[in-house]
């Protein structure tokens, strides 16, 4: 009995010690005037991206000796938001975080981020009014800006012109000139590449039969959308969506214009003739690789259109040095640094959204490519699907769409199933 009591006492003492240690945690949180070590989570581990970030951070630290370190912490793209929220839950929130457009409504509405307006407007030479209102919309609530739209990147089509020529297909430049850069021509060319060369025709990057929101780069051409503007009504059963998905299904399983489920093909390794992705992926193109072009998304039955993906940069309320983080954000996104970053991440600054300005920092892209894909795209683009509770919605749609990725799928029935599954979540 005495042993039992002693054991119980020991256990209580141990738990008590741990609890006290936990309560005492965070003692390293120096005041914002004191030394601060900042950490920013980002999705990219690309060396060129990181080199530029680090260069800007070094410049900043020269004039801000109290900031002892600025660390850019790349998290894997696929699990980025999960890793970020896990860090927050574990009491290890970063000071600044990149936020994808898909989780923007969750972050902006939850109160996890600090408003930026006051700091940005109060920073000398910031030119806050230069920020275009369109890209800011997703990141605002009640008139306040909660994240800076760090990258407003339209989707375009990277084309391997060597592969198209091998398959005796016209180049996109020729098709655009002939006014035939549309989905029916592009899917036919993609199918021809597969037939003639054995390589993949078209890859919708990051879709891989799971990341369905990337399909918005396709179905928007038919005027379809995942849900209504107010987010309350499912759009998967709309006739435009059924038509778009029927076309896509046929392209995959009948014409083999796109690689089927479970088949991987990397455009940047030369395995595919065309890929739909964002301008920031241009850094993956090799100097001595294949001949390539970057062109806007093909026209759909509803005409020309553009889809944009956005990345916001926010300061987390639960970070250790919010004030220092706000100040660094203002520096990182000031006109001068914004121009530097524009080569990878198109800024929301109207004065910099000209082909001439962007061309200065985009040696790989021509002024024509920048005008057609980036500037026109940002002006007219529809943002990829986003909604409060997007992660759960996204998972439900993925699971409900799975039966579509079979040769004998009943497209209409599957899409009805998607709406039956997500409508209760949308209506919440």
């Amino acid at each position: 009995m005495r042993i039992g009591r002693s054991l119980r006492l020991t256990a209580v003492a141990l738990v008590g010690t741990v609890a006290l240690a936990a309560c005492g945690g965070g003692g390293d949180d120096a005041g914002d005037g004191g030394p601060a070590s900042l950490r920013m989570t980002i999705w990219t581990a690309n060396e060129q991206h990181l080199a530029l970030f680090n260069q800007i951070a070094e410049e900043y630290r020269k004039s801000h000796p109290n900031v002892t370190e600025i660390r850019f912490d790349p998290l894997p793209f696929d699990t980025y938001t999960t890793s970020l929220t896990t860090q927050i839950a574990g009491g290890n929130a970063p000071d600044l975080a990149w936020i994808f457009e898909s989780s923007a409504p969750d972050f902006v509405s939850s109160g996890a981020l600090l408003p930026l307006d006051e700091t940005l407007r109060g920073t000398d030479g910031y030119q806050f009014d230069d920020l275009a209102p369109g890209p800011l919309k997703l990141w605002q609530r009640d008139g306040k800006l909660y994240a800076y739209p760090f990258s407003t990147s339209p989707f375009g089509v990277f084309v391997n012109t060597d592969l198209l020529k091998r398959a005796k297909q016209k180049t996109p430049a020729e098709l655009i000139a002939a006014g035939r850069w549309d989905w029916s021509t592009v899917l036919a060319a993609a199918a021809a590449v597969q037939r003639e060369t054995g390589k993949a025709g078209l890859v919708i990057r990051d879709f891989d039969y799971k990341g369905w929101d990337n399909l918005s780069t396709f179905w928007t051409g038919w005027g379809a959308r995942a849900w209504s503007e107010d987010g309350k009504t499912c759009g998967f059963t709309a006739p435009e969506m059924v038509e778009a998905m029927t076309t896509l299904h046929r392209a995959i399983f009948v014409d083999k214009a796109l690689p089927g489920p479970g088949t991987t093909a990397d455009f940047f390794a030369g395995d595919a003739a065309m890929t739909i992705t964002q301008i920031s992926r241009a850094s993956l193109l090799k100097e001595d690789g294949f001949g390539w072009d970057l062109v806007p998304l093909p026209a759909g039955p509803k005409g020309r259109y553009a889809v944009i993906g956005q990345g916001g940069l926010g300061v987390l309320k639960q970070g250790k040095h919010p004030k220092a983080a706000l100040d660094f954000l203002a520096y990182l996104t000031n006109p001068e640094n914004s121009a530097k970053l524009a080569q990878f991440f198109p800024p929301p600054r109207q004065s910099q959204l000209t082909a001439e300005t962007l061309a200065k920092t985009n040696p790989k892209l021509t002024q024509e490519q920048l005008q057609q894909v980036v500037i026109d795209g940002i002006t007219t683009g529809v943002v990829k699907p986003n909604h409060t509770g997007q992660a759960e919605l996204s998972q439900q749609v993925r699971a409900a769409l799975d039966p579509l990725w079979k040769p004998d799928a009943d497209v209409k029935a599957v899409l009805d199933g998607v709406c039956a599954t997500i409508q209760p979540l949308l209506a919440k």
Partner: protein, 330 residues
């Protein structure tokens, strides 16, 4: 741990002075009324015991008991990580659990995976152990081959299998050479579950095989000789001698495998992400989705409690059933 505790227990229960019988007479001649020194031999033994078990006790308290208690505590709350709110909701999460429309399919997938894994793993491990228990040349090589996946990183193993199981992957390539058009393994509901089970079976079958092998080598040879003299066939010898004598190991491996099967995560996360549909969404993966992807930490904790109860119930059931079929236990 049990040995350490046992040792500590033995030390603690041993009478002072290290021998049985009455307490020793004090040597200073002051009689029984003299004040006994605090650090008696018994106390020293107790302290030694506690010191020995302290690291394990500390580890268990911090990494097992405390999280377990916290999970139950979290399950009674709605925890919004982004907003930083943590509100008490009572049994609300448990009510949601009872009404969750996805849960039945998750439990079905979990049961399918566990049953498939336990049956395939144990029968294959036993078969391999029996085959490799023969006095033949080259058995050591095969033992090493079958055991080597156990020491390979789980994620690396799974990623390689992911490539093999692709539609244009190695397995379908092999099938193609013999004129068979293989299925798209990870995209069909039935084949995805079979694939995940097979990947896990090959990963861990070596461990159970080694345990069975050790048990088989402990079966006295004279029992087989006697059975042979009596005219028993090889099959009869296996069922009447081998199985009963290695039954304690069968119990051990079945408990380890059942508990392990309920904790499967990496294979699902890497190979199928719970799909197609929810056909491979097992309980641990569902829990991960709810807590870490959908930010429903309170509900995720509730699912953890459910998992804990299921593991506990199955382990207790297996432990109770041992009297019926484990040799030496009846």
């Amino acid at each position: 741990m049990s040995q350490t505790e046992e040792a500590a227990g033995r030390g603690a229960n041993r009478p002072a002075g290290g021998a049985g019988g009455p307490a020793p007479v004090p040597v200073d001649g002051s009689g029984g009324s003299a004040r006994r020194p605090f650090w008696t031999s018994r106390r020293r033994d107790q302290l030694t015991g506690y010191v020995f078990i302290a690291p394990q006790l500390f580890g268990s308290a911090v990494f097992v008991l405390l999280p377990l208690a916290l999970v139950v505590w979290y399950s009674l709350h709605e925890w919004n990580v982004l907003a930083g709110t943590f509100d008490y909701v009572g049994a609300e999460n448990y009510r949601a659990l009872a009404e969750d429309p996805t849960l039945p399919s998750v439990l079905r997938a979990t049961a399918l995976f566990s049953v498939g894994l336990v049956l395939c793993n144990l029968s294959l491990a036993l078969l391999l152990a029996v085959l490799l228990n023969q006095r033949l040349r080259g058995t050591v090589v095969f033992r090493t081959l079958f055991f080597s996946p156990v020491v390979v990183s789980l994620v690396a193993w799974t990623i390689v299998w992911g490539f093999l199981l692709q539609d244009n992957g190695g397995i379908n390539g092999l099938l193609d050479t013999i004129g068979v058009d293989g299925p798209n393994w990870l995209r069909g509901e039935a084949t995805a579950m079979v694939s995940v089970v097979v990947v896990q079976v090959f990963k861990n079958v070596g461990l159970n095989m080694v345990l069975f092998l050790a048990a088989l080598q402990g079966v006295p040879a004279e029992l087989y000789e006697a059975a042979e003299v009596d005219g028993a066939s090889r099959a009869r010898q296996f069922w009447r001698i081998t199985v009963p004598l290695i039954s304690p190991t069968i119990l051990l491996t079945s408990i380890i495998t059942v508990v392990g099967s309920l904790q499967v995560f990496a294979q699902i996360a890497v190979l199928t992400q719970g799909g197609p549909g929810t056909s491979t969404t097992v309980l641990v993966y569902y829990l991960y989705q709810q807590a870490f992807q959908f930010h429903h930490f309170g509900y995720g904790a509730t699912l953890s409690v459910l998992l804990f109860v299921i593991v506990l119930a199955l382990t207790v059931l297996q432990w109770q059933m041992r009297r019926r079929w484990v040799f030496h236990e009846s």
